[in-house]
């Protein structure tokens, strides 16, 4: 093979870093090979791994295509679109619950817990199962362990959503070296920097989120000028619109509301998604559903479809205009437009983008894959393999602290290039005060209650002194992942000031650690369980064969002693059959195999002699 002559010595020493697009609907893993970024296929050659996780009746957790199959069979043990719940509290997801069949477990406030069968999962744990599937696919394909990754997130994700994504990586056994914004990743994949310097707009309409980013390209530097978006807008909204209409149709045609029937709704969801996708290529199609002997069939033209979704498409244009304004640019100044996300296949979306930016959008790369490919390029940058490119991204939301009267004092403004920092000096208000509590929020509104609460930081163990004398400098630093880091220093002593962090939404570090441990144990349990099951299948095969052999003359040709030995071996196998130790089962199988050797020989001989007899006749 020619590959023997092309040993990549650098690759042998350096661990591979993969790029992962953890999407609302589908996820992908890609890596950088010598020719460029490549999507890594799964064992069946599939490039997209559905972001679906299901808990089977036997308790095993499956992700991807196997889980997709179970979505219809056991909708109450299966979860999809979990990205919409990342970094959310229970009070945030009322709307979500109306549209998706999620069952929320009791006792979750700052973190949503989903009930699947008799187990509960947080959204990062669900995502970790998808990530683990991608990790396995990559390891099988590359033939070496994969422990480091770049994962993409919507540009408009807040701190808690980013942290939740990073937690998911950790739980899956991946060191997340960088979170990259999806539109920025897409621009990297397009390699537009090779052509010329200029300004590009990336319009990213995915399954559940919408992002718009405007970047300036300058000699390989991708500098994001502004970003905007809506973390609650995407193809799911289009699907739900069509489902709603179909449900009303069915109600009037069949005289029954199947909206409460999860299985029926899942079938209908599949049907409308198929119709939606077809309408990107043909002018007319049908929504078809067959359920419990009844059939629903409705013709849908592209014209009507476009009327139905016009307001959803229109909702993306507001953030686009805001983004242009924040970048200080007019539409004419945009040189190139890039489309990302499956929903940009819809002709109406392409038309709207072209009209707004007055530029024909790029569609050369598969909109489903372009983000993962970009993540792989960023992985290449981190690995030092790609040296001519550099991403300079921004924070999508302003960071502030709550001051007197609940008013927000902004410290780091949105669209600031990250890493970015700000320092504030805090003091005490009462004599002998030992603690100062700082409430950090994210958002553009004036009042803290209208912004997203990020965390409360407790400056602890302040030396007691008269009010106003303490001087504690707090540094707020948003890192290259868009995640906030806080450190504090006592200005009088110069010593590090201890800070306690209570995140408003999401998991504490201890909780994530516990989940990592549990996932290792569970993963081991899962593997042991699978091995035992496989051994039992083998045992079944040999026991069935023995059953048949006992009907054969060859059985009678054995001595009593030989027959007793075989029966003893069979009993031994039956005794360990239900053990979860696959080695024990396999030992007994092997033993039975050995003692039935002569029986098998006898059977073979008689078969051969029978066959020979046959030829003589």
């Amino acid at each position: 093979m020619s590959s023997t002559f092309q040993i990549d010595f650098s690759a042998a020493h350096k661990p591979v870093i993969v790029g992962i697009d953890l999407g609302t609907t589908n996820s992908l893993v890609a890596f950088m090979d010598l020719t460029g970024p490549k999507v890594i296929p799964g064992p069946e050659g599939e490039r997209l791994v559905p972001s679906i996780v299901s808990v089977r009746q036997d308790g095993e957790v499956v992700a991807g295509n196997p889980a997709r199959q179970l979505l219809i069979e056991q909708p109450d043990r299966t979860v999809y679109s979990v990205k919409r719940l990342m970094g959310k509290g229970v009070s945030d997801i009322g709307e979500e619950l109306r549209l998706f069949p999620f069952r929320i477990a009791e006792g979750s406030e700052s973190v949503v817990r989903l009930q699947l069968g008799d187990r509960t999962f947080t959204p990062p744990e669900i995502s970790a199962h998808v990530l683990r599937q991608l990790k396995q696919n990559a390891e099988a394909y590359l033939g070496r362990p994969v422990t480091q990754a770049v994962i993409t997130v919507p540009a408009y994700f807040n701190d808690a959503q980013r942290q939740a994504t990073k937690d998911a990586g950790r739980i899956a056994g991946l060191e997340v070296l960088r979170l990259v914004n999806e539109p920025t990743a897409a621009s990297l994949a397009y390699g537009l920097d090779k052509r010329k310097d200029g300004v590009i707009a990336v319009y990213d309409l995915g399954g559940g989120t919408f992002d718009i980013s405007i970047l300036r390209l300058h000699e390989g530097i991708f500098e994001v000028l502004a970003t905007n978006g809506d973390t609650h807008l995407g193809g799911d909204d289009i699907d739900n619109r069509l489902i709603q209409i179909a449900l009303e149709d069915i109600q009037s045609e069949w005289g029954e509301d199947i909206g409460k029937n999860r299985e029926a709704v899942q079938l209908l969801r599949r049907a409308v998604i198929q119709a939606k996708e077809e309408l990107s290529f043909v002018p007319v199609t049908k929504i078809e559903l067959e359920y419990q002997g009844k059939a629903y069939r409705r013709e849908l033209t592209r014209d009507l479809f476009e009327k139905l979704i016009a307001d959803i498409v229109e909702r993306t244009l507001g953030p686009c205009r805001d983004c242009l304004r924040d970048a200080g640019l007019s539409p004419e100044q945009i040189d190139e437009v890039v489309l990302v996300g499956g929903s940009t296949r819809i002709p109406l979306v392409q038309k709207a983008v072209e009209t707004l930016f007055k530029a024909r959008p790029h569609t050369e790369l598969n909109p489903d894959e372009v983000v993962a490919l970009g993540a792989a390029v960023q992985a290449g940058i981190l690995a030092g393999d790609v040296q001519d490119k550099l991403l300079l991204d921004v924070t999508p939301l302003s960071l502030g602290i709550e001051t007197m009267g609940g008013v927000v004092s902004k410290l780091i403004h949105r669209n600031s290039t990250i890493p970015a920092s700000a320092t504030e000096i805090f003091t005490t208000g009462v004599d002998g005060q030992r603690n100062v509590l700082i409430h950090v929020v994210q958002g553009e509104r004036e009042l803290a209650k209208d912004c997203r609460s990020l965390a409360r930081f407790d400056l602890k163990d302040i030396e007691p002194m008269p009010a106003g004398m303490a001087r504690i400098e707090v540094r707020f630093l948003i890192d290259a992942n868009g995640i906030l880091n806080v450190s504090a220093r006592d200005l009088r002593t110069g010593k590090e000031q201890s800070v306690d962090v209570k995140p408003s939404y999401g998991l504490t570090d201890e909780q994530v650690e516990a989940m990592i441990l549990e996932s290792y144990e569970k993963a081991e349990e899962d593997i042991r369980e699978r091995q035992a099951r496989e051994a039992r299948v083998e045992a079944d095969t040999i026991m069935n064969a023995l059953e048949k052999a006992k009907q054969n003359d060859a059985w009678l040709e054995l001595t009593d002693e030989e027959r007793r030995t075989i029966d003893e071996a069979l009993n031994r196998l039956l005794m360990v059959y239900h053990s979860d130790d696959h080695l024990l089962i396999r030992q007994s199988i092997e033993h039975l195999n050995n003692v039935t050797m002569k029986l098998a020989e006898n059977m073979m001989n008689s078969a051969v002699s029978n066959a020979l007899k046959g030829t003589k006749l």
Partner: protein
């Protein structure tokens, strides 16, 4: 900075970002001008500043230090934050002047709305009247507001050119005392400018509504 030694090899660094002996990244200075290698001038060439920003980004960004030691990774994060913060402050003439004022010990607080610069009192009074009229539906006030907007905008332009002249004088000032006197003047002009900008914003908001 000049007396500092490399944390890695102990050789003197002469304040450089990277140790001249072993090339390890050093703890960065937090002075924006020093960081960009620029003298503390109020007039800066935006093109030159951008070039320095890009070049420093290429050298310092955390992407370049993924496989480095934790110390260097931390320094890279801090240095890039200072680089980005500094670029934001220095590329805008107003925030740049405010930064220099603060560095020189001047207090640059947000002006209270009550403190109307005396020469603007009459203008502001008329403006408030017009705003009130527009609110109760008197469309004839719109014309007056448009006039106000034009006047405030020309005032802002005037203030900007005034600032520009002061910047030149500051950059050419021979000694600390005269420089401080000019900074004092700049501080006054900046307050006036902030007030006028708020007025322009207010009028524009009302006209757009």
């Amino acid at each position: 900075m000049e007396g500092t030694r490399c944390w890695q090899c102990g050789q003197p660094t002469a304040g450089a970002l990277f140790c001249p002996s072993c090339n390890h990244l050093q703890q960065p200075t937090s002075d924006y001008y020093k960081f960009f290698g620029l003298p503390q001038k109020l007039n800066l060439d935006p093109g030159d500043l951008q070039k320095r920003f890009y070049s420093l980004s290429r050298q310092l960004h955390p992407d370049r230090f993924t496989r480095s030691t934790p110390t260097e990774r931390q320094y890279s994060l801090e240095a890039t934050a200072i680089l980005n913060d500094g670029y934001r402050v220095l590329r805008d003439p107003v925030s740049r002047a405010e930064y220099v004022l603060r560095q020189r010990g001047f207090d640059v607080g947000e002006q209270r709305s009550k403190d109307v610069p005396p020469e603007l009192l009459e203008e502001v009074f008329e403006l408030n009247m017009a705003l009130e009229e527009l609110k109760v539906g008197d469309e004839s006030a719109r014309e007056q507001l448009e006039e106000s907007r034009a006047r405030f905008r020309s005032m802002r332009d005037e203030v900007d050119s005034q600032l520009q002249q002061l910047f030149v004088r500051y950059d050419e000032s021979a000694d600390q005392d005269s420089a401080n006197a000019i900074l004092q003047e700049i501080r006054g002009v900046l307050n006036r400018r902030r007030y006028i900008r708020n007025l322009v914003d207010q009028v524009e908001r009302e006209l757009a509504a």
